[in-house]
Structure formats: structure tokens, C-alpha cells
Symmetry: none
Subunit: 201 residues, 4 copies
Amino acid sequence: MGNDRPENVAGTDRRQALVLAAFRRIAAVGFEGLRTRDVASDVGVNVATLHYYFPTKEALIRSVVAQAMLRFGATLPHGGSAGEQLRGHLEALRQLLHHDLELFAVLGELTLRAPRDTAIAAIFRDIDEPWYRQVRELIQRGVAEGSLSPGLVADDMAALVISAIKGVSLPTVVSNRSQRIDQTFKQLKRSLGLAIDEETE
Amino acid sequence: MGNDRPENVAGTDRRQALVLAAFRRIAAVGFEGLRTRDVASDVGVNVATLHYYFPTKEALIRSVVAQAMLRFGATLPHGGSAGEQLRGHLEALRQLLHHDLELFAVLGELTLRAPRDTAIAAIFRDIDEPWYRQVRELIQRGVAEGSLSPGLVADDMAALVISAIKGVSLPTVVSNRSQRIDQTFKQLKRSLGLAIDEETE
Amino acid sequence: MGNDRPENVAGTDRRQALVLAAFRRIAAVGFEGLRTRDVASDVGVNVATLHYYFPTKEALIRSVVAQAMLRFGATLPHGGSAGEQLRGHLEALRQLLHHDLELFAVLGELTLRAPRDTAIAAIFRDIDEPWYRQVRELIQRGVAEGSLSPGLVADDMAALVISAIKGVSLPTVVSNRSQRIDQTFKQLKRSLGLAIDEETE
Amino acid sequence: MGNDRPENVAGTDRRQALVLAAFRRIAAVGFEGLRTRDVASDVGVNVATLHYYFPTKEALIRSVVAQAMLRFGATLPHGGSAGEQLRGHLEALRQLLHHDLELFAVLGELTLRAPRDTAIAAIFRDIDEPWYRQVRELIQRGVAEGSLSPGLVADDMAALVISAIKGVSLPTVVSNRSQRIDQTFKQLKRSLGLAIDEETE
DNA sequence: AATGAATGAGAGTTCATTCAT
DNA sequence: AATGAATGAACTCTCATTCAT
């Protein structure tokens, strides 16, 4: 038919669309409520087509995981002084928490699934420990540089920072979620000795 | 007939056994993997027997929720000076985190389910906000009493405390979970100005 | 306990109560919706108690059948001239149709069940054929006696009478069921040559 | 691809086959005994396939109802003088009663179900009243035209005709069902003043 | 590349029936 | 005579997956 419709040109597009749809479904209804048929119909294709791109549901999920990790990894600090890096990292996360609710819903689902899914566990292992180490090192350097409060115990502080970030990222039923996020980050910065600027969403 | 327990004790026991089995299954495999047949066979009864006690799977889950909330509620502070209460609360949670892994696995599942289950959401609403207020008030009083660091911003610090606790309570794949818990609590106490004793599990 | 409550004195009462409850349930929800638990709870006893009186559900149903046939059999003609007997029979049925809706609901259910339930089929065989013969004979005698229209073909007329009675006895969704019953009987009498009096319910 | 039937014909066939199988099952074992697995296996497919075509058992039943009504509706009179129409209608029904036992078994089941199934009740309401009115009008016109007995009370006679037809259409355990059908129709025609020809099945 | 049709395995739930007490 | 507790068998319905086209 002289078909040159863009969505058919690249199978990659369709693949990507399916991953995105699955991502959104998981954010909305969790793994518990994830149905391949729904994902397919969100994209406007048949379930069989979904299985053409992803042999199994698990394969689809793995792609979703990869995507989530990619989005999350972008907030990791790089460049600048230790204090600046830490501030940048926290700020990036705070922004993400305000604007990408779906990402954290998915990350939450993945976190709970990790203990029973070795593939996800492996990914988390690759994220969690480096994240902790990086934060700890930034704190150490920041203290040494004088850009953070003197006397901070880097090990403990890093653990607190990461715990707190994980904690605020959980879905919550209280109405003032945004406020709690800002409070938590404000206090984290205060505890670290970082200047607290007027924060905006 | 020398039995001095009334006949409904058996029924109560079985009910309780089913709730406990469901609790453990949820902790192990999440809501996603919860099967009534498994719960029943864990207790050594037929599925139909489960339905004799709980008309629906949801009814069983509700009982599990109630149980989880009961266990968690027991850690809420009461009695003593503000500083002591806060320390007691944190210590109770720390102990629980070390010893009742299952409870937090279930609470995690419930947290993720809350946005799509109004019944669970209602329960969380009744827990979350009071918890925050209580912690905030304890901090305010503790600062006024002089048992906590002067200059703490109670609102923000309360938000941080709660976020951090939620964060450490999430299941984790890293091997040094115990250590992270202790680090987080140590730092929390330090930030609050509470004395840090030698902590043991 | 010096128990002398009448309902416990005679198991017959309880049996009877169960049969009646089953009867009503069948009238209301058909065999399709008949549940032993409902019948038992209508009478205020445990299902196990029902099974004490009736070993199986089928046994209970058979008792219901017997009861229904008893009620129906009471309308069969006896005594008087042929014309009077026929009129009496029709009038008894007409009255019953107006006042004992439940009976005909149950008879309808039984009629449909008969082809696949030999026990019920046997009972119907014992009712149907004699009924037909009796009506036919009454018509023959009535014509001979001059109390019915001359020239009636007794075989055919008997078949019509019985068909018509069965037909009106079926449950109907039209609002004017009562009217249809009276019309049918009026026409039946007219066709038979019986006087039509002012009929009342 | 040389296939000149569009691809959905297969689907339509299977749908139709399922409806027919359900129709037969209901005729044989009633709603009480209707099992989706049986219907599916009658057609030689998996139960899941049945659910592919009919989301629920009720949806399947509704299709059966529609089919039954279609078959029945085909007997309604149309064309010719009043007397001829009436005779044609009666004759069509008589033939159907002799040859389509299943249809009347299903109609019987539906009749009993109507009081507790609003969807079926609605359909019957649309059939019953028009049927009565049409028969009554034919009788009126027939009397006026002189093709029926003078002096017939159209209201009552119509009620009798319909009752009698419903009555003979019920399943019966007597061996001489065919005979009773013919007798009933013969007498109906006689009462109406229609000529009685030699009737054959 | 895409689909309609089909399926096996299993899910939650129901129900007549049994049994110890 | 009566019951609470328990069960096996069966039911409708769901879902990831397959396959011919």
C-alpha cells in the first residue's frame, strides 16, 4: 500500500511504546494488576504483537526495569566540588520526585520485587552499593573541603541520606506529599550543612 | 472432654493461623503471588475451609492488614519525657526492623497497594498523619525541655525522621542491611541530639 | 433444661417446616437457585440439621414433590353430576390459580424437570393420564346426561381442557395474569356448555 | 487466499455452533444443568475459547434466548384472510411442536426463568402481549368476515388459544404426546369454526 | 510485522455432604 | 436432635502464551 507510516518504519518505536505503556501500567496498577493485553491495547496493537517484540511478560518487565534505572541513574552526581555535587544530586532527586511520580511508583514496585526476582536484585545491587559509596565519599570530601558541616560521620550520614530519599519516594496517601518532600530535603541539607535556598518545584 | 478451652477456641486458632500464614505468604511473595490455596495448605486445611472463615480473599487480606497495623502501632511512643519517648520510639522501631523482617515486607506491600485500595488507604491515613504529628510534637517539646538539640526545626526534622524510617524499612538486596539500619538510626539520634549508646540487636 | 418447646417435640414439625421452606424457595428461585443452606436458615437451623432429616438434597426435593402433588390432587373432581363435577373441578383450579401462585411455580419447575428425573416422571405419569381420563369421562357423561353441549368430541375436548389449564398455570410476566386466567376459564366453560356465573376471586 | 469467504466467517460459525450447542444443552438438561465446559466440548473447543466469544455464561444464554425467539417468531401469522392467517398460525405451531421439541423445551425453561431474569422478562413482554392482541384481532376479523364461528367472544377465545398452545408445548412424560398435540389443535380449530383437515405431522 | 483464534493451567469461589461432639 | 467445622469436587472466569495465516 505504499505504506510509509513512521510507526511501522522502526520496530524500535513500537518496542519503546510498549515499554512505556508497561511502565505506566505498573506505576498505575502495580505488578499485581499488570496485564499484557492492557499494555498492548494501550499501544493499539494485538497481544500477539506484544509477544512478537517480547517473548515473555518477564522480558517486557526487564525492559521496563532498564528504563527506570536509566531515568534514575541520570540524577547521580558528576562534576563540581563535593558540596556542589551533593547539592546537585539532592536537587535533581527532589525535582524528579515532584515531577516524575510514575518513576518512583515503579521503583517502589521494583524494590519490593527485588527479593524474589534475581534479575532485578542484580540490578539493584549494581545501583545501591555504588550509590551509597558515592554519597559517602562526597560527604567525606565535602567535610575535608569545608563545604559541609565539620564533624559529620560520613558512613552514618550517607545511610541516613539514602534512607530518607527512599522513604520520601514511597507513594503516600496523605495530601501534603509535596510538602513532606521539601521538608525532608530541607532538613537533609541543613543536617549536611548545605545552604538552603528558596526551593521551587 | 477434660479440655478446659471452649469449643470456639479452635475456630479462633484456625482463623489466627490463616491470617498468620497469609501474612507470611505476603511477606514472601507479595500480593502478586498470594494464592488462597497456598495459604490454606500452609495451615494444613482445604481451600474451602479458608473460605469458611473468610468469605473472600479480600476479607483475609483485611485481617492481615489489621494485624500488621497492630504490630506496628505497638512501637508508638508513650510515657516519659519527650526525649525519652522519642528515643524509646526509635529504639522500638530499630529492634522491630532487626527482628520482624516480615512485618516490614508486608507494610511495604501495603504502602504500594494503598493508592489503589481505599480500605488500606483509609488505614494509612489514620496512621501516617498522627505519627508525623506525634513525632513533631515530641521534637518541639524535647527542644523546649532541653533534652534535644537546640535550634531543631521540628516540622522538617519530623519529616526527615519519618522518611528515613520508611526508607530503611524497605527490603534491600544488599548484604549489610543490618548495618545500614543501625547507621541510619545512629545518625538520626545524632541529628536529634540524643545520646548514642552502644546499640545491640 | 426441662425443655418442652413444641417445635422440638415432634421431628415431624421440623421436617414439615423444611419441606415448606424448600417449597417456597423453589417457587421463588427455581431448582436452579435452590440451596440447602438457604432452606435450613429459613427454618432457623443448621444445614447439618437439614441433612439429619433428609439424607440428600434430592430426598428433600422428593418430599416437596409429594406435597405439591397433594395440594394439586385436592382439586380433582368427586361427587355430583358430571356437569357439576366438571364445573367444580374447573372452579377449584381457577381459585387455586388465583391464590396459590407458589404451587404452580413449583409445578412448572417439576414439569420441566420430569423428563430428566425418573422419580418425578413417575409421579407425573400417575397424575397426568388419570387426570385426562377422568376429564374425558366427565365430558362423555355430561354430554350423555345433557348437562354439557351436545356433539362435543370428548377426547379432543379433554385434551384442550388440560392443555389450557397447564398453559394458564405457567408464570407470566404480563400484568393482567388474573384476567387471562378468568378469560381462559370462561371460554372453557362456554365451549363445554357450562353456565358462566359471575366469577370472583 | 483463494478462499472466497472473509476471515470472520470461521468466527461466526464457531459462535453459532456454540449457541446451538448451548441451546441443545439447555433443552436437554435445563439451565440447572448447563455447564460451559460441556457446551465447549460439544463444539470441540476449550472452555477458554467459549469465553473468547462470550465474555460470560449469561452472554451466551442471551444469545440462546435471541435464537429461540427468532425461531418462535417465524410462526406468527402474516398474509391472507383472517381465517387463513389463524389457521396458518396454528398449523405452523403444530408442525413446530411435532418437529422442534428442543425449541419448546428451551422456551419452557425461559418461561420459568423470566420472573427472576429481567432481561428475559423484557423479551417475553415484547412477545406475549402482541401475540395475544394479534390472535384476538384475527378472531374478531374472522367472525366479521364469516370465516370463523359467529358469536365467538374474541377476548376469551384468544386467551384460551394461547393458554392451550402454551400448555401443549410443555414437555410431558406421557407417551402419547403427539396425539395430545393433535387433539388439542383439532379441538381449537373446531371451537373456532375452522375446517378440520386430515392433519399429518 | 501483525493478528484473530485458540488453549492449558490455574485462579477464587460455591455447595452438598460428612463428622466429631 | 443439633451443630460448627471441614472437605472434595466442580464451577465460571482469567491470562500468558502459541500458531496459522
